[in-house]
Structures are given as structure tokens and as C-alpha cells.
Point group: C2
Chain length 224, copies 2
DNA sequence: TCTTGTAGACTTGTATACAAGTGTATCTGT
DNA sequence: ACAGATACACTTGTATACAAGTCTACAAGA
């Protein structure tokens, strides 16, 4: 497991949660691997209690499975779970972008423009990790523009299943299409064009479905 | 706070979570009240650790607010939060009932019929609490029929905000309409009639919106 | 009277000890 | 050699001690 620096003011529990989540998404903690509360706590230099609390949090999202008195394991990638995550994301993204088309917060629109210009900036430099962060921020901003921040929190709890699959499928060529999608979505919001916006969300999501079968062939041991 | 018996095989943490959640929904723990980890643990006869873990869980759903080194409080009823919960419920219920209209699991349909007959049974006996339980089960069954159980879990984490408002607005006369709605929804699913189903979900939800302003007048100290 | 500081009783955050269950490796007896 | 008992090294679950921050009441001094 890759561990990072503990941020200033960050509680031990938040630290453990952040490190575990990042390592699960990045697949440095591979699906199916054992997570020992003792090991993690000694690696991070904190006690078992905050580590345990972080693990319980993650188990709520079904990304870690706790077997009492036996051990805790990183969940295998469950196609059914990924499918439900995709369903949830599609339903929420569509509903929220419709609201954004009706009435978007002007201040947030400004931030979206800034975000998009940065996506262009890093696109030409082929900085996939930067694009990924900006991608996440872009979608969060749409929720904020629609005043649906709590719904976004809900979305992100399950989206970890999706992000993990996304880690396996980063392709440089795809980033271009993704960024183009984002620009198109933003324009649809500006034009109050719900139909186009929803169609774009669908197209955007379909990009991930394609290579899932390829991934499954390449990494069968990660799947349930 | 009303405390109940600890169920057989139930962990201390699950016990604390269940008791706290039930008391928050029933408003025996009134909005804004202080929740002391020490008090709860001594009341329930368990130690602080599992109580603390339960409180952290509930704070994830924003139903309890933890202020480090100061105290943990039951969240006041936040109209914005309730509105987002309503939005989320509407979006999810509509999307899922559409799937159920397309293809519903026959075994689950059988269970829904059983549930509906029980709703009729308790309706004539005016057993509001039984109706409430059956109401929750009914909606969960629709999710199961559509094979969207994980989405239902997500739904229930935020629905606590909604349930709490519902506690303030139980009216015998309303139960009749609710049960009638359920029958109509079930028929729409049988008839694969998506349009009617979605319209029913909308009508169903609108029943709660009506008396929210009345509640706010009656219990202003519960609101943010 | 008003300010200030200080003691103390809270709070949550963290560390650690112990309880209890599980799986494995090993030893023992047949 | 094989079956079964057993010790041991794990695991998570729970209890408890202590650390550190916050608020309040109250007394001392200007």
C-alpha cells in the first residue's frame, strides 16, 4: 500500500479513510486482499481505533467486507454492483443536469468554465491523472450549480466502485472524447437544452461500458 | 430516549445504531438535543466504542452533527436537506419503478401482493404504525423486484430525514390514500404502464409536501 | 461593575488491553 | 500413514484509560 503524508489538521480517522480509499481506487490494494487493522495502523503510525472506524465507513459502501473474527478484505469487483453504480450515476446525473438546465447558479457556471479551460490545458499535455481530478470536479460542480450537494455526497459513496473500474481503463485517446463531452454538456446547460444534456450524459457513460469485458479478460482474478 | 432490548446475535454497535436511529426518527431524541457518548453507553449498558461508531455512522448521513471536543447533536430539521431527500427519493423511485414495469421479478410480485393485503388488513384497524412499516417494506420490495437492492440501501441512508418529518405528519385519513396509491402502483407495474407508474410516484410524494408548513408552525424549535 | 483567569466538569479523539472466535500447523495416539 | 486433539497465531469486537479541547461558574482584582 502506498501511504502519503498526513495533512495538517487532519484527524487520524480521516487520514486512514483517505489513504485506504485512494489505495483501493488506485488498485494498490488489489481486490480480494486482506486488510489488517493492525498492519494499517502500524504503517500509518496511528492506533487501531481510527483505522477501524475508517474501515467500518468503507464497509458501509460495500467496498470492504468485514468478516467478524476472521478478517476484512477489499471487495472483489462485482459486475452487478458496478452495474447498479452505473444505473445510479446515470439516473442522478440526468436528473441533476436537467435541474441545472432550468436554473444554474451563475457563480458556479464561472467555476465550470475555469475547470474546462484547465481540462483543455492538461489534455494537450496528456496528464491523465490531472484530467481525472478535473473530471470529478466538473461533475461535482454541476451538482453544486443545481443546488444538489447532498445528492452528490450520496453519489460519491457508491461511485468508488465505478472509479476503481475506471482506473483499469484509462486510455489517452479516451480523454479527448471525455473532455469534448464536458464542453458539450456545459453548452447544453447554457442553452437550457435538457434533451441534449441528457443525451450527452448517456453517451458519456457509455464510454466506460465498452472496455469492461476487455478488463475482465485481462484481470479475471479481480472479479467476483 | 426510549431504549429497547438488544436482539439475539446483534453486535453492540448495531444495537446502538438501531436504537439511536429509531429514537431520532420517532423524535424521542428531539432535533437539536445533545447526544453524549457516555450517557448513551451507560443507558444501553455497553461501552463507548460501539456507541461512538454508531454515532459516526449516523453523522455520515448528516442526521447527527459531531463537533470535536464540544459535543454531538441531533441535527435540526433542515428544509433544504428535506427537499434534497425528497428530490432524491422522487428521482430514484421513478427510475426504479420504470425498471419494475419493464421486468419485475415474479417471486417478488407475490410478496408485494401479500404486503398489500396486510396494508388493507391494518388500514381498517387504523394501526398507523403497522401501516408505516408495511409502507417501507412495500417500497423496498419494488426495488428488489427491479434488482436494485444496493440503490435502495443508498435511498434509505438519506430517507431518515424524510421519515422524521413523516413522524410529525401522521394522519389517519392520509393512510387510506397512501394504501390506495400502493395498490395503483402495483397495478401499473402489472400492466407495464410506465407513465401511470411515474405519475403515481409523483402524486404519492406530493402528499407529504402539503403539511410541512403546518408542521413548521407547530414545532418551530425543531427547524433550522 | 466589569474584566480576567482559573479550576473543574464536561466533550470527542486516540491508544491500548483484553475478550472471543477462527484457521492452521503441529503433535500425539492409533 | 492417518485422524484427531491441541496449541498458537492470527482476526475483529469491546472496554477502558488517557489526551486534549471547550465551556461554564466563580472568585479575585482593578
Amino acid at each position: 500500500m502506498k501511504d502519503t503524508e498526513r495533512l495538517a489538521g487532519e484527524t487520524a480517522r480521516d487520514f486512514a479513510f483517505r489513504v485506504l480509499k485512494d489505495n483501493i481506487i488506485s488498485l494498490d490494494l488489489v481486490p480480494g486482499s486482506l486488510i489488517s487493522e493492525n498492519d494499517i495502523s502500524s504503517q500509518l503510525g496511528i492506533s487501531r481505533t481510527p483505522v477501524r472506524e475508517a474501515i467500518i465507513d468503507l464497509s458501509k459502501a460495500s467496498i470492504i467486507e468485514i468478516y467478524p473474527q476472521r478478517g476484512s478484505y477489499v471487495s472483489l469487483i462485482d459486475p452487478k454492483m458496478v452495474e447498479e453504480a452505473r444505473f445510479l450515476r446515470r439516473v442522478l446525473d440526468c436528473a441533476v443536469i436537467k435541474v441545472a438546465c432550468e436554473s444554474a447558479d451563475p457563480d458556479v457556471l464561472e467555476k465550470i468554465e475555469e475547470n474546462l479551460s484547465l481540462q483543455d490545458f492538461y489534455l494537450v499535455r496528456e496528464a491523465a491523472d490531472k484530467i481525472l481530478d478535473l473530471d470529478n470536479e466538473f461533475h461535482k460542480l454541476i451538482y453544486t450549480a443545481a443546488h444538489k450537494d447532498i445528492v452528490y455526497e450520496i453519489r460519491s459513496t457508491i461511485m468508488i466502485h465505478f472509479d476503481r473500474v475506471r482506473t483499469l481503463s484509462v486510455e489517452a485517446v479516451k480523454d479527448m472524447k471525455i473532455v469534448a463531452d464536458h464542453h458539450a454538456m456545459y453548452n447544453a446547460i447554457l442553452n437550457h437544452d435538457k434533451e441534449t444534456a441528457v443525451a450527452l450524459v448517456d453517451k458519456h457513460l457509455s464510454r466506460y461500458r465498452l472496455d469492461e469485458s476487455k478488463i475482465k479478460e485481462e484481470f479475471p482474478e479481480y472479479f467476483k
